[in-house]
């Protein structure tokens, strides 16, 4: 089995979505928000850190107001480049600004069963199956916990989930499902087993933690404490804003970017104040709420613009970005899913967002679909191809070959053709067959994508997790479970 990971690198396409002056305006607005309006940090530990560094802390409301200088100084210690380590070091991911890596989406609550096609509540076995397929899929560079293991006890669910991913894959695990100090401590013990000690995690962080903010302008207490624990041991940690126009953010895009930026930047500054130099990343999945229902949309032009704009902000702060793309609001793999996921992923890729999240989900990150997972991988492959742009040199201009064929011939039997034909993209799930063949079979990309997922699940044997490590992990989890 190939250990190859597909990533976008050395891009030829470029997009200027915000001018440097506009970025500065958003940054200034962000600092103004943090200083004048404040951000809520409902954690005693977090508030103490802020107070110790001279920020204005309203303990009753748990709101912090910090001066621009404090924030800017804190952000200076963020490391710009670091790796996400994998259980197999060949699969380490350099977050160096010159790679775009894709991960699965996370926190789903239902799964379209891979065998029966019936939609049902997600469980731990789904985490295992999805990770196993992702392990064998070159477009997937790292894992989020794809769906919630709802058959596991709530107090250790997040730990069962990461253990299961490690059992089924050698790739990096970024969890978005551990949001309290207790579970974070245990997760670090588990990660330490893989690399041979907690002191080795700083160099080889096989686990990273992503925490959701609580927009507008707030954080969750447990999430903050989990992030602080992770940062203490050098595990990369990031705060994700999902600020949404109309509901948790203003109706205007710039205002919504500023609200989200204030959440992320204030959280990031806290981590740096506590542990200067700890690896941090920016995470975002802003959107526009639906005008009629107020619901999360998971797509639309605003999402696509946020996808590109956020990396400009993360670049301004010189930290990697984990960006929500894909994750359509469509109810099944259909035209809406294709439009949403192609455009969101293109826009986030063209600006070189370091990590992209979101493959495999329908209905705004709630329902897992194996067919969608595979088709999302193909969308990424198409964009990967596009990002290489057009090479223009002697070899690619092919003048000798053009002269040899001359007017009216064809290029099929040319050596140059044979040499370069495999540079052309060959889709797996696009229908390019004769009409008559389609008419007889009436199948399409969704069927082929599902078939590929099924076959991968049946045949792929991931490199097993050392049985002793696995047993130790289980012990850690059991010790935390209520008797």
């Amino acid at each position: 089995m190939s250990k190859k990971i597909k990533s976008i690198t050395n891009p030829k396409l470029r997009l200027e979505i915000l001018t440097p002056a506009e970025v500065k305006k958003i940054h200034d607005a962000t600092l103004w928000i943090i200083e004048k309006v404040g951000v809520r940090f409902p954690s005693k530990r977090a508030l103490e850190i802020w107070a110790a560094h001279g920020a204005e802390v309203d303990t009753g409301k748990m709101v912090v107001r910090a001066k621009a200088e404090l924030i800017e100084k804190a952000l200076k210690s963020c490391p710009p480049v670091y790796p996400l380590a994998a259980r197999d070091p060949q699969q380490d991911l350099p977050l160096d600004g010159n790679h775009v890596f894709v991960g699965t989406d996370g926190c789903g609550v239902e799964v379209i069963d891979i065998r029966s096609g019936v939609r049902r509540t997600s469980c731990l076995q789904d985490v295992a199956d999805i990770s196993r397929i992702a392990d064998a899929t070159e477009e997937v560079a790292f894992h989020w916990v794809p769906v919630s293991a709802q058959d596991m006890p709530p107090e250790t669910r997040g730990l069962h989930e990461i253990q299961t991913i490690w059992k089924n894959s050698t790739k990096h695990v970024q969890t978005e499902s551990i949001y309290n100090e207790r579970e974070a401590q245990a997760a670090i013990e588990m990660a330490a087993l893989i690399v041979g000690g907690k002191d080795k995690l700083r160099k080889r962080p096989v686990l990273s933690l992503m925490q959701c903010s609580a927009p507008p302008l707030g954080h969750d207490g447990g999430s903050l404490e989990a992030a602080l624990v992770a940062a203490e041991y050098g595990l990369p940690t990031g705060f994700m804003t999902m600020a949404a126009n109309l509901t948790t953010g203003p109706a205007t895009l710039a205002g919504n970017l500023a609200v989200g930026n204030a959440e992320v930047i204030a959280g990031t500054a806290l981590i740096q104040l506590a542990f200067p130099g700890a690896p941090v990343f920016y995470a975002a999945a802003q959107t526009a709420s639906d005008l009629r229902s107020g619901a999360y949309t998971g797509g639309g032009p605003e999402d696509f613009l946020y996808g590109a704009a956020t990396n400009v902000l993360a670049d301004f702060y010189n930290i990697p970005l984990s960006m929500g793309s894909f994750a359509t609001g469509a109810k099944e793999p259909n035209w809406q899913a294709g439009v949403d996921n192609s455009l969101s992923t293109f826009m986030a890729s063209v600006v070189m967002s370091d990590m992209l999240l979101g493959i495999g989900f329908l209905h705004g990150s709630r329902i897992w679909s194996y067919a969608e997972m595979m088709m999302d991988c193909e969308i990424f492959s198409i964009i990967h191809k596009m990002m290489q742009g057009i090479a223009v040199d002697e070899e690619s201009l092919a003048l000798d070959t053009i002269a040899a064929v001359g007017p009216g011939g064809n290029f099929l039997s040319q050596k140059h053709t044979l040499k370069h034909m495999r540079d052309l993209f060959l889709p797996q799930f696009m229908d390019r067959r004769p009409y008559s063949e389609w008419e007889t079979k009436k199948d399409d990309g969704r069927d082929w994508a599902l078939a590929k997922a099924r076959k991968t699940l049946e045949t792929h044997q991931p490199e097993p997790l050392d049985s002793q490590i696995n047993a130790e992990m289980a012990k850690i989890i059991t010790s935390l479970e209520k008797k």
Partner: protein, 216 residues
């Protein structure tokens, strides 16, 4: 003259202008207009019109919310006079709302609260991270006939069940209907914990609440 005032009241709700609505309410009191008439012939007409506009696609959620808030401001300004006269607005039901223990996600629950109160329910919003015991105590205190429980995390969603089990233990389940909501809530979950219903958005929650109250 009074007709004119009623029209202005309806318009203040349509405009989502809480200040204007409260001022008009005070004016009505000063002119000796029955507060119930001001509500039913004035402000409610505005709420209904926004509702119609919304239904046919001419109005959006923020307009509904602002109309709801204007309505609330008007009722608050009329309340002292209603008390004085010993009259009461006829409400559709009493709803206790909360985001369950361990969960701080507020917006969906608050939106449901605004929509319910604009639609004629009396709403007791307990906020976020609310333990089951506190929810039950409020239900008993105000003699509620509906409870709405919100959760955004699969790990906190289990607390919805805890509240239902508690109500069951106290023998209140026949009297008190339970609506649950939040992104991870599915129909399977509703059945599993034997809740009375769920809605994916705030507008649907109003329909559900009316249905549950009618059925009781």
């Amino acid at each position: 003259m009074t007709e004119e005032l009623f029209k202005k009241m309806a318009q203040s709700v349509l405009d989502g202008d809480s200040d204007a609505a409260a001022a008009l309410a005070k004016q009505a009191v000063e002119s000796g207009i029955d507060p119930l008439e001001a509500i039913n012939n004035g402000f409610v007409a505005g709420v209904n019109k926004v509702g119609e506009n919304f239904a046919c696609g001419d109005a959006f959620l923020p307009e509904l919310v602002m109309a709801g808030e204007a309505m609330k401001a008007a009722v608050a300004a009329l309340e002292p006079e209603m008390k004085k006269r010993g009259t009461q607005r006829k409400m559709l039901g009493k709803v206790v709302l909360a985001t369950v223990e361990g969960d701080i996600h507020e917006i969906g629950k608050s939106l449901v609260g605004t929509m319910l109160s604009a639609s004629g329910f009396e709403v007791f919003d307990l906020g976020v991270d609310v333990p089951a015991a506190k929810i039950i105590a409020k239900v008993q205190e105000v003699d509620a006939n509906l409870v709405g429980l919100s959760a955004l995390l699969t790990t906190t969603m289990v607390k919805q069940k805890e509240v239902i089990d508690e109500l069951d233990k106290l023998g209140l389940r026949k009297k008190v209907k339970v609506m649950v909501g939040g992104a991870p809530v599915t129909r399977d979950w509703v059945q599993k914990i034997e809740a009375d219903g769920t809605s994916e958005d705030a507008i649907g929650a109003v329909g559900l609440a009316k249905q549950l109250v009618d059925a009781a």
